[in-house]
Structures are given as C-alpha cells and as structure tokens.
Symmetry: C2
C-alpha cells in the first residue's frame, strides 16, 4: 500500500515548493488560505500548450516561468498583489523526468521571486502535448480592482515597457535568418527571443495602477486589439500616436529596416505590458509612482469620446488599418 508512482513524482518535484503552511506539504486533497480581511480575491486562469504557446524544445524552467508570469501579468494590471496559484500539468507518456525537474525548479524560483506560492496542483498523463494550466489568485482592498471599464475622454493612455519584442522574437525564433533582413546583431536577436520566451510581468507597477488608473488591462493579445477591448468596456475610443509607442532598440531597428513590421508590433501579442487610462490630474503622481517602482511608463495618447475603435495615428495623422487586430485561438 505504498505511494504510487504519481505520488512519488509529486513528492520529488513539487513537494519542495509546498512552502505555504496552507498546502499541508501537499499531503491533503485541498489547500486552505486565509485571504486578508477587508480584501477581495482576484482570480485568473491561463495556460500554455506545447506546440501552441511554446516550442517543445524550449527550456523547461522558462516554460514554467512563462506559465506563471502570464497570469501574474493579469493580476498586476488589475492592481492586485499575488497570493498564490494552483498548477494543473498534463504530461505525455514517456516524458523526460529531467524536464519536469527543470520545470519545477523554474516554477519554484519564480514563486519565490514574485511571492506567489504554489498552493496545490494536479498531475495527469495525456496522449496529447504537454499542457500547463495555472489558476492565480491576488488580493486587493475590497472593491478596488481596476477594471477595463472606467476610462473617460481626456484620460492619458499609458503603457509600461516596450511593445512588439515578443511578436518579433517569435519570428526570429522560427527563422533566425530573418534577423539579417532586419539588420539585427546577435544581442538584438537574443533580446527579442528572450522577450518572447520570458515575459516580465509588471507586478511592481500594480500599486501605482490601483492608486491612479481609471481602467487598465494587461496587453497579451496585441496592443491594438487589447486597447480596443479596454475602450469597448469603457464605451470610449482612443487616439494613439504610433511614434510614441515605446520600442526596444531591437524592435526599433527591425521596424526601421521593414516598416511593415508596425503591424505585428501593434497586434502580435505576448507583450505582457500594462495599458491604462490615467486622468489628467493624476499623470504626475502616476509617473512618480512608476518611477519609484522602477517600471518605465510612456504616455502614448488620449482617450476620446466616441464609440469608434481606437485609432493608431502615423506621423501624418492618418489612422493605420490592420489585417488582424489581435491574437485569437479560433
């Protein structure tokens, strides 16, 4: 009546991550946490599937980090502080246990770094590809979640970080030769691929967003499409100056070499940056709070009173049109 192979697998790789007392060392059916009094619980689930969201030969520790970080990014944009997460992982027959060991190591390191402990999980065998689903929980004072709705005409549209790196990085990852066309050196190519492989969620900015933003969301499916969602929920539009959308040196170099890249930069997705609407009177405070948090933020345009889609304006003031505004699975 000893432990099953499944039990032993969990004990070897995931039990070391059971640092939260409410996990009972993963020896129970469920975990228990006490959410802080006077706080709401903010909930998110997002997953990764091999061959869809990552390459089967991507390093396992990075896959684990990405799986957690795409969820952390949503919590950050809502102004929530991470509390913990649940992991569901399905592994193909004959998986390499070293892969799982690397996966668990990366996951544990990020759980520590973001103070977001693993609270439980489910490990299955699948005839399909490796599939990872994470449900993440954050906390914030009751009723203070920053929603997509709430933006008002005249608000400044701020974004964190830079855009397009991951979308371009995915292209480089698929075909390294493309970097030559874009006149990228090796460091620039590596930067783009790294941004595709490993998002840098802006949890350091969560408090500033909660304090100052009227509306916010994390940009995961492309700036154009996601800003349209924020504007739609807020029943407003926006005028964005494309020249002000922040780019990394690598993305700027690629765009200079091929101006058509403006479309994947604005619609390609996987940026995991925050877009938010800041009322004019709060702009200085928001900038100061972002600066204190060490997160670069850029004012890229204004919310407008219209029910039209947001406009992305070139330097001549003409609105760009996109063949596909954002990523869709179907």
């Amino acid at each position: 009546m000893g432990d099953s192979p499944e039990d032993r697998l969990i004990a070897r790789h995931f039990k070391p991550l059971a640092k939260h007392p409410g996990t009972f060392g993963f020896s129970d059916d469920c975990s228990a946490i006490a959410p802080p009094a006077g706080h709401d619980l903010v909930l998110k689930t997002d997953g990764l599937i091999a061959g869809v969201h990552f390459f089967p030969d991507d390093p396992a520790d990075g896959v684990a980090r990405k799986a957690l970080r795409v969820n952390l990014s949503d919590l950050a944009a809502k102004g929530a502080t991470p509390l913990g997460f649940l992991l569901a992982i399905a592994l193909p027959k004959g998986f390499d246990e070293n892969w799982l060991a690397d996966f668990a190591r990366g996951l544990g390191e990020d759980a520590d770094a973001y103070q977001c402990p693993l609270l439980g999980g489910d490990t299955d065998s699948t005839p399909g590809p490796t599939s990872i689903s994470i449900a993440a929980f954050g906390g914030l004072p009751t009723g203070t979640m920053v929603k997509r709705s709430g933006a008002k005409a005249g608000d400044h549209v701020f974004v964190s970080g830079t855009f397009g790196d991951a979308a371009l990085g995915l292209r480089v990852r698929r075909d390294r030769a493309i970097a030559r066309n874009w006149k990228l050196d090796a460091a620039m190519s590596d930067h783009l691929v790294a941004r595709y492989r490993l998002p840098q969620p802006r949890n350091a900015l969560a408090e500033a967003v909660r304090a100052h933003a009227r509306a916010a969301m994390d940009v995961s499916d492309g700036l154009a499409g996601d800003l349209a969602k924020l504007c739609g929920a807020s029943r407003v539009s926006a005028d964005i100056e494309v020249a002000r959308v922040p780019l990394s040196p690598a993305a700027a170099q690629a765009l200079a070499a091929d101006p058509a890249l403006v479309e994947p930069i604005l619609t390609g997705g996987e940026d995991y940056e925050i877009a938010c609407a800041i009322p004019p009177g709060a702009v200085n405070q928001f900038r100061a709070a972002a600066n204190s948090a060490g997160v670069p933020v850029t004012d890229i345009g204004r919310i407008a009173a219209s029910d039209a889609s947001p406009r992305f304006l070139d330097e001549a003031g003409r609105a760009l049109t996109f063949t596909r505004p954002g990523y869709s699975h179907f």
Copy 2:
C-alpha cells in the same frame, strides 16, 4: 477591431454562465470575489482529458458535470461550502460547436445546482485531445478544514454512498458483454455506467463532516489506496470489514457472480464518496446529521494504533492483498 472568433465563442457559450457579479460578465481580465469574513478559502484543481478520464463520445454535458463534480467532491470531504470555480478548456482543431454548447449547458446547470458559479476561464486550441481543468474554491470558518491527518485509534471509519460502481461501470462501458457474465440486467448495467459517467459528490454531507469528523478525504483513487493515504497522514492504521463496505445492488450482484471483483471494487477509483474518521462519542450525532442531509453513511471499521497499512478483512478475518492499491497516472 471587432471581437475575435475566440471572443465570440466565449460570448455565445460561457457569458450566459457569468451570473456572479464579480465576473463582470466575463468582460474583464480577472474576476473578483469577496470571501466571507472569518473564513478560509479551500482550493482544489482537478482535470479531465478525453481518452484518459472520459470517452471522446461521452455526452458533453456529462463531461462538464463530471469535471466540476470531481472538484466539488474534494471540497465536500474537507467540510467546505462551494464558492465558485475557474475553467480552463483546450479544444482540438475543428471541434464541434454543438459539443461546446452542450458542455456549457451542463456546466451551467451544475453550477446552479451546487451553487458554485463559474468565475472565469481560459479557452485554447490544442493539437491534442479535449482537455478540461477546473480550479474550485470553497469556504469554511477559519482553521476548520477537515484534513487527512487527525484520525485517532478507536475512531469509526465511515463512508458515504456505495463503492465500486464506477470501476465496474467503466468495464461495462468498455465491453457491454461483461454485464452478462456478471448476470446484470439492463437497469443494473445502466446504473454502473451512470455512476462512472456522473459522480454524485457529497456536498450535502460537508457540514456533518466538518462538525464531527477528525479526518476525512474524498475517495477518488480507490478506497484501499485513499484510506491508506488518510491513515498515513494520521500516522495510524485501520481495520476494515470488507463485508460492511456498502455496495449498490448492481455491484453486489456482480461481486456474487465474480468474487475477484472485490479488488476493482476496493481499488478501482472514481467513487467520489467521502471516507472519514468519527470519534466514538460523535458517531450518533454524525449519523443523525448525515440522515438529515439525506446522505447514506456506513460504519465499515475502526482506526487502529499502528503504522501498518490499513487491513481489509474478509469474513474469516483474513487481510486481503491487492495487486495495485489505487489509480496512478504514471
């Protein structure tokens, strides 16, 4: 900049399930719930994969119900009241949208029936089989989660419902002819298959378990293996009288026809019943509370002071041995 096909799919099938105000009609990145003051949040994740946990041609509404119920069963055994759940679903290319419509309908009906609302989700496309992962949340007064640990020598081992139906039902589902060997009529065969397809989680018993049990767990991987886990966590053993393990008329009939079925009955899994340790002084109260809740419970043996595995004793007092104590994915 209209909605994507993915957005429209979610709007058609899942938005009608967004009844909880904290879901914001699934128009935001995250949901927010306010856990009851003075309560712990109990967390569980468990999933189903086509070809592993269900047959690809099983009715979709039943697959949805099963996906939710296997999680509700864990919450029940811990003494928690359901608060809601997150759904991650990955669908193969070219999936039938009628399947998804049936899935969402079944899920919504069970969410209502168990007062466990859908709080958010993630919909992906996969090159593999349909995969469903649910993260469920329950609530209970702080510090009162009933754990696997806590059972003491002399406690009565109680179980809800009946055992072995699902394990036998799976065999019938695979090979209908086997029912003839077991001398089952059509109604008995149907009963077993229904118990395999659709668990009946014992959420009605949660309050009685929380009030009276020293230790509890839901039995999903077989009574023998799961009881060994409870005893292991409690650092005790148990003596179970196999003749007292409750069987449905169909399982009893099959066992009479083939006594070797005692092994799948006790180890086959998917029972989704509760096993718990009730102190002698609380037995009458527990029985009364279970009766009020309308859940049949049976006293099948005693917790023993030993670190040996639980013993399943036949009518001559001999301990049965099993080739495999419970289900393992690896």
